[in-house]
Subunit: 333 residues, 2 copies
DNA sequence: GTGAAAGCGCTAACAG
DNA sequence: CTGTTAGCGCTTTCAC
């Protein structure tokens, strides 16, 4: 491996001079500069970023911790896509650490990124208790931003989406269409999004519906199964609200497979506004979750672009499409 | 920031002793070990990974360069999900660099990862000429694995999928259903997958179909538009083959919107076996691309688990579902 | 302007 | 077993 010293020798100057021309520090004489560049080209020198970052005490990496339960759905895709996009936009690089499926593993993942001296780290966690997160935030030399869950402390390290309000928005729409008996398909717990959305459902739905709950795990398949359970249950309903679009889509397939029409017989709505929802039949009514905004906000906070407190309580907007219709006159179930 | 020296002082030992207990080198006396652990706890010491990696000359990061054109579809999602999964499986971390949309930017991204001293880097590029890639492979001290395109050199740094053969498999099936007039919806160029698949289409389709080509950019929307163009064109056809599932799904929506039934009037097939294909109506016939295998192979090659030459010429398997049917007796168009 | 020398925080001989 | 001493490759005073 060719180091800065090799370049220096090759150019007949000192290490510091090479460093200077590379960093445009102090004015180096033009002729020497040329010599150095020539030597760099000849030797094929590539500065070692580990060494550089150790010396300068700063890096250009932004860490992202993510529980692998959100993996591999449109939500994950959007999250990562936007994280990478905004990082690059600010000349940083995204580095990943898998939070897997326990508090210990999440904490480990954060620890890795902190010890890598990332410029900042974004945490999309599920299991770690808030007290623990708070401790990490306070002990870490770089900003650690907690995404998608509301902390009672450290508001400037916290960007969350108001999923309760989001749930209300969708429920309001469902109610406005005359639905009173609305079933709920939940995502995998623990999850702040799921909890809040479910609460919004519970608080707004007819009290008879308490039993109209089926548990999924965010995947289409689980939505499919959950819907079957609901259909086979005793309680009648005219609409299904699923905690995300994937499950809503799975549910629609289940309804169709059982000969039920959407939305004529049963209406279905979801959350997150996955792209496919527009192309599905029927196209999916959903809440557009402001993931992009959330990530942008986090990245800008880390790179120090937005001096003020990060945006909080983002809600998202309702996307009305075909999967929700007026309540049918006769309950089919 | 608390360093190893602080811990050493706190425990009343030398730096090397601390290092030893941390790395389980040489047997350190139990009582001293305890002292050190106590000091670590007291000081809240967190080892600096940059320093450690600089000193040991090895890192636990695996780099991934990816052109941002594949971003944000199911293909991207699967790629990143699996990359992260296999990295973690081998106790490594995934680090990202965006290849954006030009050869220069791709090379830059690779360079960053190389200079970060990643254990290895995986390159999913589109624009960089092979000669350039070859040069990078040879000059880099760590394995640089080129994914999804066939290099004429460096076979052990190259894992590709035989998209031509994959294309043939789908075409064979379409032909076996009696289709002769098959339209093609292509992805964004340049792309090795697209080129090879399109070639397979061209080599197997009826010569009359040369004009039955529409250009997309891999997105559902572009598939939708491409299908409209095809429908509005003069040439008749009974099937559409799209270079990926997203475009196939967009195309199906376009056909439906124009009152055409799939597959009764027009059959549609895609590539990649996106999860949603199973839930769509009609469910999508597609080729399951072995992305997971490709990534697994790359990661194992990097961590030195598979001593032999990496797998090459993976093809994938046909997933037969409902979007392709027998050719209709009367061409609808 | 440029070079020498002292770090950044850690590991790895080498003595003892 | 443990401490001392050099590095790893780069930046950054501080003199000249």
């Amino acid at each position: 491996m060719v180091t800065m010293l090799d370049v220096a020798r090759c150019a007949g100057v000192s290490k510091s001079t090479v460093s200077r021309v590379l960093n445009n520090k102090n004015v180096v004489r033009e002729e020497i500069k040329a010599l150095v560049y020539k030597a760099i080209a000849e030797t094929g020198y590539r500065p070692n970023l580990l060494a550089q970052q150790l010396a300068t005490q700063k890096t250009s990496m932004i860490g992202l911790v993510i529980t692998n339960e959100v993996y591999n759905g449109p939500f994950f895709s959007t999250l990562v896509y936007n994280a990478a996009k905004f990082c690059e936009q600010h000349d940083h690089r995204l580095i990943f650490a898998d939070g897997k499926h326990s508090a210990d593993e999440e904490i480990n993942a954060i620890d890795f990124l902190v010890r890598m001296k990332c410029a900042g780290v974004m945490v999309y966690a599920r299991h770690t208790p808030h007290a623990e997160l708070e401790k990490i935030i306070n002990e870490s030399p770089m900003p650690v931003m907690i995404l998608n869950q509301r902390l009672s402390v450290c508001p400037d390290r916290n960007i969350f989406i108001d999923h309760y309000r989001g749930g209300e928005i969708v429920m309001d729409y469902l109610l406005s269409q005359g639905h009173t008996h609305i079933a709920w398909i939940g995502g995998k717990m623990p999850s702040p999004s799921n909890t809040a959305r479910q609460q919004a459902w519970r608080d707004n739905v007819h009290p008879d519906c308490a039993a109209l709950v089926a548990q999924g795990d965010w995947s289409m398949e689980s939505g499919y199964q959950a819907a079957l359970t609901l259909i086979d249950g005793a309680a009648p309903f005219t609409a299904i609200l699923a905690a995300n679009d994937d499950m809503a889509l799975g549910a629609i397939k289940a309804l169709k497979d059982r000969g039920l029409r959407v939305p004529q017989d049963i209406s279905v709505a979801g959350f997150d506004n996955a792209k496919i929802g527009h192309y599905f039949s029927p196209s999916l009514t959903t809440l557009d979750t402001p993931i992009e905004q959330m990530i942008q906000c986090a990245v800008e906070q880390i790179v120090g672009l937005s001096p003020d407190r990060p945006a909080q309580g983002l809600t998202g907007t309702l996307v009305i499409r075909d999967s929700v219709g007026p309540v049918p006159v006769l309950m089919p179930n």
